[in-house]
Every structure is written in C-alpha cells, then in structure tokens.
C-alpha cells in the first residue's frame, strides 16, 4: 500500500508541474554574477549524492583569428591539465582520485568546457582546485611541447574516420573569412607547428581564461547558497581581463560551390549538401524554423528517408543538421550512399526536397509532431546531473544563461508552416549552397 500511495503522490506532483509551468527546462536554477564578471549557475536536481561541475569558457576555435594558430583553443584545453604550483599534475590527479571523480574536457567552435562529476562531499575540494588552475596555471616549455604531441595523437586517432575529413573540406569550401572555416582540431600543418608556439599559448591564456569569459555550472545534490559562498571564496579574486577578439565576419556567398574528397581506403561515398544558415537566436524564428525543417525534410520520419533509406534502399545514413552556433554557420544534409553510381541521384533528390520546402508549406500536423519530438527529446536527455550540467553548458556557450533554453523552446512552440517555408526561401538558396562529396580514391590516383 505504502508504495502505491507514494506512486500516486509522484504522479500528482508531475501533473501539477505540467499544468502550471510549460517550461521545457524543469529545474529551478539560480544565476549570479560575481563582481569580477564570473557567472555562477547552480542547479539543484533530484538525483542524489552526485554533483556535476562544468566550467565553460566562451572561447573555442571561433576565437582562433590569427593565421597558423588553428586548433589552439583545443590545445589549450589539454594544457589546462598541466598543473599549478599548488596543484602540480600529480597532486591534481591524486585529489581527483580521492574524490572518485570522472573528469574530462572538450572544445567546440564556440566553447571550451571542463567537467567533473563526483560525490557531493568533495565539492569544496574540487571547486578550490579548479579555481586554482584557472587562475594560476603554470607549465614549462617542455611540458607544453609534450602535450602538443598528445594533440597530434588525437588528430591521428580521428583521422581514420572519413567524416572528419569531409567536414574539414566542407568548412574550408563554404567559408572564406570566418574562423568557422577550420575545424576545432585545426589544420594538420598548424598542429604540427604547435610545439613552437609556447609564447603564443601564454598569450592565449592571458586573453581568454578570464572571469568575464567563464561560467561555473554546478548541478546535482547541492545547496545554492553554500555553492555561492565557495565560489566567492575561491574564485572571487580572479582578475578580469579586457581582450575582445575581432572575429572576421563572413561576406554573403555569391554562388554555389562544390568540392570532392578522395579517401585512401574503401568506404561508402558520403554526400554533404550545405547552406549558409543563421546564427543561434532565441528571439528570431529563422534558426528554429530551419531546425524544424531539418527534421521535417531529412529525419527518420521524413518522406525522403522513407524513399531513399526504406523503399529504394540506396542510402543508409540520412540526416539534416542545423547546429547551434554563435555566428552564422551551416545547415547541412548528410547522406551515406550505398553505391557510388547513385551519388548524383541522391544529390538530385536532396535538392528536389529543398525545392519543395521552398515552394510549399508543410502540414500543421507534421510540424506539431516535430515540436513534440523536440520537447520530448530534450526532457529525455535530462536524466542525470551530469547531462543537466552539460546541456546547460551548450547553451551557456551561446547566450551565457539557461534562460535561453525556455526562450528557444517557446519559439519552437510558436512556429507555423509559413515560418518554415520562409526560412527555407531565405537560406536554402542556390547561391548559399556548398556540396562536398567523399569517395574512395580510384586505383592509379595520386598517392
């Protein structure tokens, strides 16, 4: 009986929450700014014992504005593990070990994020140690050089996958000026030159590892006020900086572009059809309209998927992607084609689908299914504190607040079929298009 009663209570709680709040982000969070410009976001969750800490620096490969320095934000992510006087790497490791923590970091176009998940009793230790490395990182030229080799090792292990090469070429072809022209890993020649860039690395740290670029996200079994007190104590003396990167703006594309990649080993051909898209926005509808279009036109429940993947079985991967970015990025349709002779046909089918979406509005019913899909897939993701922190991190990179999540999902809710057609007309135009194909190099080709 007792457990049945508990079950009824739980359900009542759920429906009450659903009736009073349409918010897609279900957690009550607190956002505070320290006087030095550091932002703190605390998110108590119902998941017991565990705390997830994610420190977001709003610096990624987008900030790599100088020639020859591509891949530096990512390299710096590695360098951040080289220690301080108070916590040399061995001690840093020992503290993480004692806390039973899982710790890692990642870099993308728009952010570098450092995340650690651990038991709640270790919160102060971890926050203090992280504060120390963000303020007092110290590494020798020799340690720096060794770490550049680990980055080369990362490039090497990635290089077996043709998609990495495909996106490298796609970006280089689609962009002329903006730093999205290169991938987060950077160009191989720049990675190979990294050992010579110690001085630049110090400058990079000085520019970007500053409180005004940084947001500390703490999610899990926590109390907001005690987290704030710890952050004040350990992060409060961090000095604000004043550097602003001048990211070169991309000029409008003047006509369609194409490129081909030859792959040395056997693979199925890949096709990427890309259009210059809008930047992330939680106020204008274009971005969310193109998100919806990527599902309507190219997801598993699209007509094209039904045709190419299920009926004709000419394609085994088909997806549309409109990634969130700070600056205008790319709307991309990606297909893996089973037979090389079908690539032209698949390309024509993708272009034909784009044309239909420019010409005709979709049914309201189908758009509603996409809206439901988006809301449910978001809430299904938030099933533990670590993914809560990481999900918030991806939005902090864009707008520095979790508030943008509900704003952008409100925009989805307001979308109409006309919005989708208008966005298709504005962005999915021939002069904005770049097509890149990748296929196995033919025998006798250049080695």
């Amino acid at each position: 009986m007792a457990s049945n009663f508990a079950w009824l209570l739980a359900l009542a709680g759920l429906s009450a929450a659903a009736a009073t709040s349409p918010r897609v982000f279900p957690f009550a969070y607190t956002q505070e700014d320290l006087p030095n410009g550091l932002r703190l976001v605390t998110i108590p969750t119902d998941y017991p014992n565990i705390v997830a800490l994610c420190i977001v620096v709003q610096t990624g490969s987008r900030n790599e504005i100088e020639p020859g320095k591509t891949g530096f934000a990512h390299l710096f992510e590695h360098v951040m593990f080289k220690g301080t006087e108070q916590y040399p790497p061995e001690k840093y490791e020992a503290v993480l070990k004692r806390a039973g923590a899982a710790s890692n970091a990642f870099t993308s176009d728009d952010l570098t994020a450092y995340h650690t998940t651990f038991s709640k009793e270790d919160l102060e230790t971890i926050l203090a140690m992280e504060a120390d490395r963000f303020q007092h990182l110290k590494y020798s030229p020799a340690e720096f050089k060794t770490e550049t080799l680990a980055v080369l090792g990362e490039y090497n292990k990635n290089s077996a996958n043709p998609l990495n090469k495909l996106f490298e070429v796609l970006r280089e072809t689609a962009f002329d000026r903006h730093t999205y022209r290169h991938t987060t890993m950077g160009f191989l020649k720049d990675i190979q030159d990294m050992p010579n860039q110690y001085a630049y690395s110090l400058q990079f740290f000085d520019r970007y590892y500053r409180p005004e670029y940084t947001t500390v996200i703490v999610a899990g079994d926590i109390e907001t006020h005690s987290v704030r007190a710890l952050v004040d104590r350990y992060w409060g003396n961090w000095k604000r900086g004043n550097y602003r990167a001048a990211i070169p703006a991309e000029l409008p594309q003047q006509g369609p572009r194409t490129n081909q990649v030859e792959w040395p080993t056997r693979t199925l051909p890949w096709l990427a059809v890309s259009y210059r898209g809008p930047a992330y926005s939680d106020t204008a509808k274009d971005m969310v309209a193109l998100d919806a279009l990527s599902y309507l036109a190219f997801s598993e429940n699209s007509d094209l998927y039904q045709k190419l993947v299920i009926q004709e079985q000419k394609v085994d991967v088909l997806e549309g992607d409109n990634e969130d970015h700070v600056d205008p990025y790319l709307f991309t349709v990606l297909a893996r084609v089973k037979k090389p002779q079908d690539v032209a046909y698949v390309e024509q089918q993708v272009l034909e689908t784009v044309k239909q979406f420019r010409e005709r509005a979709v049914s309201g019913e189908r758009l509603e299914a996409v809206k439901k899909h988006l809301r449910y897939s978001f809430s299904l993701r938030l099933d533990n504190s670590e993914t809560v922190a990481l999900t918030v991190a991806s939005y902090v990179a864009l707008r520095r607040t979790p508030a943008t999540i509900d704003r952008v999902y409100d925009l989805y809710a307001q979308l109409t079929p006309d919005d989708v057609r208008n966005a298709a007309r504005r962005y999915l135009a021939e002069q904005n298009r770049t097509i890149v194909t990748l296929a196995t190099r033919q025998a006798g080709g250049a080695k």
Partner: protein, 488 residues
C-alpha cells in the same frame, strides 16, 4: 538511494523462470530493458551473425501490423526508439520514454519484440546495414575498434566466441529471413528472459508486461562454454591498412569475472594500470603524459566496446569468459616499436612489482566512489542490476564497495601474479607498411626514442631499458592480414 526489487518468479505456470528486475522511482521517465540470455555464442557454426541480424531485424523493422515507416512515424513525436545490442550471451532491447507516452510506446515495443513483421524489404535493409557496419564503419573507419575486435576473434578462434558479434560478410550474404525467424522461435523464450523496468511506471504496467512476455515458448539459456585455446608464445597480427598511424590492442583470456573472489582485486589492478579514459592510469601517465606518444592508453578486465565514444561501459555485455586487454591509441609510425615495448615493459613491472601500499589505497578509495558514477542514469542502473542477476552477485555498487572495504594490497598483488602476465600475449596492430612493421617487431635492435623537448634523467634512463625491451616475438609468430580479409 533507489530500491532494487528483484522478483525471481520461480512459481510454476506460464512465467516459470522468467526473471523481472524493477527500479521504481518518481521520475517522469520510464526505462525498459528486455534481455534474452542468448547471443552470438549461439550462432550456428555455419551462420555467424544470425543472433545479431535477428535482433536488428526486430529493432529496425516493422511489426505484423505496422510497416517500419509506420513504426518510425509513431515513435517520432515521442522522441523514442527501440535500441538493440547483441553480445556473446545477451541480446538486449531497451528504450526510454516519458511517462506521458508509456502506453503508446509500450504498444510499439511489445509488438516489435513479440509480433514482428518479418518483411523481406526490412530484412534486406538490415542485412545491408550490418554488412556496411563491418566493412565500412569498423574495418574502414575505426582502426582502434577494429584492432580490439580482431584481438577478441583471435583469442577465441575455434570457440563459440570466435567471431565478431555481427558475424562475417560471407555468412551475412547467405543468411535468409527464414534463418532469422527460426532463430527467434528457438531462442527468444521465457527461460532465458529478464524483464527490466525502471522509473515512474504505474504498478499495473509491470503486470501487463509480465503477462505479455509469458506467452513465449520456454526457450533455453546458453550452456557452459569450452575454455579458450591457450597461447604458447607471444604472437602478433598486423592488420595492413592505409592509415596514418599504428593502433594496438594486446591481451589474453583470464578466468576471472564478476562474482569471482579475485574480481575486486583485479578491478583495482585494472584501474591503477589503465582506468578507462581517465588520466590517472599508469599507462596513460607513462606513455602519454610523460612521453607524448599518443592520445591515451588504457587497460580492461571486461569487454568494453565503443570505448572511443563513451566514458562508461555499456551494461548487458555479461560473459562467462573475459580477457585482460591493453588499448594503446594510435602512435606515429616511427615510435611504433618503442610504444609497444613501453607498454609491455609497464605490464611486466605491474606483474613483478604490483601496487605499492599508497597506490593500492589511492586506487581502492577512487573506485569506492567512482563506482557510483557507473550507474548515474536509470538506464545504466537497470542494466547493471540485470548483469548482477546474470553473475549471481548483489547490486554491483554494493558488491564492489563491500569487497573493496575488505581488500588488502597483498590480495591485489597476489591476484595480479595469478591472473596477469607479461608474456604469451596476443598483439594486434593496425598499420600501413605491414612488412616494415614486421621487420621492426621481429628484430632485437634497439628502438631509441627522441623527444621534442628535454626529459628528466630518470625518463631517459628508463628509455635505455625500454628501447631494448624484448617483445618475445619469434618471426614465425608474426602474421600480416590485409584489412580486406578481416570479417570476410
């Protein structure tokens, strides 16, 4: 803390031997995991890949009532899917849904598993996908996973574990829809079935599920498997492929699994030596941090596929037989021999010296907390609970923590000496210019290391030992296999 309710329904009647694992909670999400105790080890000798293809057809095909397209359309608004995983002895179907959609989702889930459509066009598509997975995704695009899977195939050659779970390309090309249907009828029974349910489901839902699955025939579980063949000398296979760098997987079978008295001790040894994707492991420190040889180096005592994509292992890969494995991420070709020597040198040191008291305590304390992170999602917690049932142990976190609390350094070092060794290894390398690598590996010539920055004297001194470290490889024990031949 969540409650683990384990209902072992040994009562007579329709549900005899079907097991149920539940983790009820107040979450708005519901996780379902249905695990049959059958997998690639049950593939007929002439039909490798049949278990996997059958499961893929259920998860990626239509039902008797609905075409696959209709299934996808129905799942889409719920943002839900049905995933499947086939390992040697387990076939798992899992999914997650918001409780709002539980009834509609389960209707599809149930029909996909209990009333499949067996359509020829679904079969053809799923078969093509599987062949492309082996030929393109694994063989063509992922040198590290390829090396790992080749290692397993070699260690278990001639036994029911001796082929990739997805089978071989020549076998897949011959398999028929009727083969799949027959496999399903024979092996998807009650006797080898575990139903797992977690999250905020209403109590009557569990009864409904039990009732639905009780209609299956009895079926049978995998029997005891023959031991893997022993390795007499260290041997190497070089998979020749046009690739930038050299990826290694190294290992041998061990007879320790969860529930074995030495499992907690070996878990400590593994974590100390090469905790997955963490920088604190010894191999990672010695190979990457100090010497910059590659991106990372790890060690395992349980099967851990897809390690490059995930930080925690997937559950429901429970096996009677496991291997000790080292994963050396791709190294630049000029340092390939030195890197291999260093890995074996470190393994030798682990076996001969064991852990210091300080290292033992540090690693034990780490694991006692880290184990919580393995079950941070409900889906993982449910998966681990099912695995614990397979291995006959209590809830995994409790099992590990209580064993660690009693463990001593001597027990760990004794378990290392008993189960691990630095000779009689199977080495797999994925590399271009296989002949050149073969010559390098069979020669005793030193392979000195050079660095792009000054190194401490103790590292340089150690390098002088490592550069001459014997791999114990006889020329006749090195084989080259062109990548096109793998999984054919």
């Amino acid at each position: 803390m969540t409650r683990l309710l384990l209902s072992l329904l040994f009562a007579s009647g329709a549900w005899a031997q079907m097991k149920v694992v539940t983790l009820p909670s107040r979450s708005a999400l519901v996780n379902i995991r249905v695990v049959w105790g059958v997998g690639a080890a049950a593939d007929p000798a002439d039909k490798p890949g049949l278990a996997n293809l059958t499961a893929a057809l259920l998860a990626d095909g239509g039902t008797r009532e609905l075409t696959y397209k209709q299934v996808l359309d129905a799942l889409f608004p719920m943002a839900a899917s049905v995933s499947n995983q086939v390992d040697k002895e387990m076939t798992t179907f899992s999914g997650q849904t918001h409780v709002d959609n539980l009834t509609a989702y389960y209707k599809l889930f149930r029909a996909m598993l209990l009333d499949p459509g067996w359509r020829p066009d679904d079969f053809q598509r799923v078969k093509d996908n599987t062949i492309n997975f082996l030929r393109v995704s694994l063989r063509g695009n992922n040198d590290e996973e390829l090396g790992k899977e080749v290692l397993y195939n070699l260690l278990y050659e001639g036994t029911p574990y001796g082929h990739h779970n997805a089978g071989t390309i020549s076998s897949l090309e011959k398999l028929t829809l009727e083969d799949c249907r027959r496999f399903y009828q024979t092996h998807y029974g009650r006797a080898n079935l575990i139903l797992g349910l977690a999250g905020g489901y209403p109590p009557p839902f569990l009864e409904q599920m039990r009732k639905d699955f009780s209609g299956l025939p009895e079926g049978s579980a995998t029997g005891t498997l023959p031991p893997p063949p022993s390795i007499k000398h260290t041997r190497a296979v070089i998979v020749e492929k046009d690739t930038r760098s050299v990826a290694y997987s190294i290992g041998y079978p061990i007879d320790v699994r969860r529930g074995d008295p030495d499992y907690p001790a070996l878990l400590v040894a593994q974590s100390y030596f090469g905790q997955h994707r963490e920088s604190g492991g010894l191999l990672f420190q010695r190979m990457r941090e100090l010497r910059g040889l590659n991106y990372g180096d790890y060690a395992y005592i349980e099967y851990f596929p897809r390690g490059m994509f995930q930080f925690e292992p997937s559950p429901n890969l429970a096996r009677q037989q496991q291997i000790f494995q080292m994963w050396i991420r791709p190294v630049e070709p000029p340092t390939a021999k030195f890197a291999l020597r260093l890995a074996l040198y470190e393994l030798d040191k682990l076996v001969s010296e064991g852990l210091s008291q300080e290292a033992f305590e540090r690693t034990r304390d780490f694991l006692a907390k880290y184990v919580n992170l393995l079950t941070k999602t409900k889906s993982a917690e449910l998966g681990y609970a099912i695995d614990s049932l397979y291995y006959g142990i209590p809830d995994y976190n409790r099992y590990v923590k209580s064993a660690l609390a009693r463990l001593t350094r001597e027990q760990v070092n004794r378990a290392i000496r008993k189960h691990l060794r630095a000779d009689r290894l199977q080495i797999v390398a994925v590399s271009r210019n296989a002949e050149a690598l073969r010559s390098a590996l069979e020669s005793d010539a030193p392979s000195p290391m050079t660095y792009n920055s000054p190194k401490p004297p103790e590292i340089l001194e150690e390098d002088r030992i490592v550069e001459k470290w014997s791999l114990g490889l006889r020329p006749e024990d090195i084989r080259i296999i062109p990548v096109e031949k793998i999984f054919e």
